[in-house]
């Protein structure tokens, strides 16, 4: 690939320009299910970041060793291993959180984002770039999760990180904590991004 690639660019693209959620719309399955509160969202984001970073480093290190035909299976095994580690650590660290997130931690295995990064990036780049790319993507993902989780928590429970912010008479919008709220909220956020895009285009013209 080109030599003009810089670390900072590779890092920043995951956060904004190629944000896995808002722009690429990847890895939706775990994010919608667990983003009803900000805490859950952050936990999920951290877990995903851990798995992404770990597997990216490993894949990048092993990229010359892994035979082409079995590469996908190898990636999956690597990812699954890291997910298992994450799963057990969360359970040890906070059983309550583990109950909340339930099976969705395990589902990080099949998050298209992680597999996609291995295939598209880590398997072709040096460890340094793999780390930068993975952390950029992971932060972008976690940021998106946090946005979603925070809005849903604020509207759905009237709280932020568990503490009420609107006083006790606030009427919570229960729907935001329910599945339809997840879809609608993400829909609105995407709508907002489309609107930004269109405004940018309009300004350019």
């Amino acid at each position: 690939m080109s030599a003009t690639k810089s670390y900072s660019e590779e890092f920043l693209k995951g956060i904004w320009k190629e944000n896995p959620v808002f722009i690429q719309v990847l890895g939706m399955c775990p994010m919608l299910a667990v983003t009803n509160t900000a805490v859950n969202a952050i936990a999920m984001g951290v877990a995903t970041a851990f798995v992404l970073l770990g597997s990216s480093i490993l894949v990048s290190l092993l990229r010359k060793v892994i035979a082409k035909p079995v590469r996908i299976s190898t990636y999956i095994v690597i990812i699954a291993t890291f997910v298992t580690v994450a799963d057990y650590s969360i359970e040890a660290f906070s059983p309550a959180l583990h109950r909340e997130l339930g099976a969705f931690i395990a589902l990080i295995v099949v998050n298209c984002l992680i597999l996609g990064r291995q295939e598209a990036y880590s398997s072709k780049n040096t460890v340094g770039f793999a780390i930068v790319d993975a952390s950029g993507m992971a932060i972008g993902f976690a940021f998106a999760l946090f946005c979603l989780g925070a809005t849903r928590e604020i509207l759905g429970f009237g709280t932020f990180f568990g503490s009420p912010i609107f006083g006790e008479h606030f009427e919570p919008w229960v729907i935001m904590a329910l599945p339809p709220g997840g879809f609608l909220m993400l829909g609105f956020i995407l709508l907002f991004f489309n609107w930004l895009e269109q405004r940018k285009k309009g300004a350019a013209v």
Binding site: Q24, I72, C112, A120
Partner: protein, 284 residues
């Protein structure tokens, strides 16, 4: 130690078992396919995300090999990957003489006579069926955007005379506008063929002037000046490109009383309208 051993044992036995199964299956159940399929699939990201609209990378590569989809429709792969696939499949051909769509009519708003006012669904094909769209000339451009809508490459825009201006850069000669035009006014022509007949009406003399001020009236002056490369068919000049002498001289256009045959260097209708001293007065 025990647990490690169990883990290793279980994983390796599972791995071995399924590995053997798959290997055997691969050997005995293999189905003959286009060898390019596997290569293309290899080149794809292999995420099987379905974002391209195809169910998985395998299906996408089949669509690629079959020419149904374009490599760029894979949203996951990087531009470089896509370029590699494209060059492997030869989808993007080498440098060729650029071909663009040319319109055989110059009778835009104010130049061709409008005999009645069309009101209804704004679409050339529809207007064509309603009394010819009210345009005096039943062969000319209706100017209701069918080609512009059909163009997927943003290469066609209507000018203030409601004539389609084809952007030479954007046009990919995909034939969509040719098919879209209900009056078959578009033709795909190499850019090097600069002598263009901008009229499609087989009318002669005053009959022609009665409907349009920039029509070909079949006067044959261009044929006389065209070094034998221009013949008249159906009262319209036909330029002969067959012998490869595509850089014919612009002098054939000099005596044209209406500009129906023109020398086009770049896009058509870029200059508003060239004034021709001999243009006949027409009630518009």
């Amino acid at each position: 130690m025990d647990t490690t051993l169990t883990a290793v044992l279980i994983m390796s036995s599972i791995g071995t078992f399924f590995g053997i199964c798959l290997a055997v299956a691969h050997k005995y159940l293999k189905v003959e396919e286009d060898p390019r399929l596997d290569v293309v699939e290899e080149m794809l990201p292999g995420t099987n995300c379905g974002a391209c609209g195809e169910p998985g990378c395998r299906a996408f590569s089949e669509a690629l090999v079959g020419g149904i989809k374009e490599p760029c429709q894979c949203t996951v792969g990087s531009p470089d990957d896509i370029e590699i696939i494209a060059s492997f499949l030869g989808v993007v051909a080498g440098e060729q003489d650029k071909v663009v769509a040319r319109l055989h009519c110059a009778g835009g708003l104010g130049l061709a006579r409008q005999i009645a006012e069309y009101e209804g669904y704004s679409n050339c094909r529809a207007a064509h069926l309603v009394g010819g769209g009210g345009k005096g000339c039943s062969w000319g451009c209706l100017g209701l955007d069918d080609c512009m809508v059909a163009c997927d490459f943003d290469a066609i825009h209507m000018n203030e005379q409601r004539l389609p201006v084809v952007s030479v850069e954007n046009c990919t000669a995909c034939n969509d506008c040719v098919e879209a035009c209900p009056r078959d006014l578009f033709d795909l022509m190499p850019l090097s063929q600069k002598l263009i007949v901008q009229c499609n009406a087989p009318l002669e003399g005053d009959d022609a002037y009665a409907v349009c001020s920039v029509c070909c009236d079949g006067c044959q002056r261009c044929a006389a000046d065209g070094d034998g490369k221009i013949t008249m068919q159906n009262n319209l000049p036909v330029v002969d490109w067959s012998d490869g002498n595509i850089a014919a001289s612009p002098k054939a256009t000099w005596r044209c009383p209406t500009g129906a045959i023109t020398w086009v260097e770049d896009g058509q209708f870029i200059q508003p309208t060239v004034e021709y001293s001999t243009r006949k007065e027409v009630a518009v």
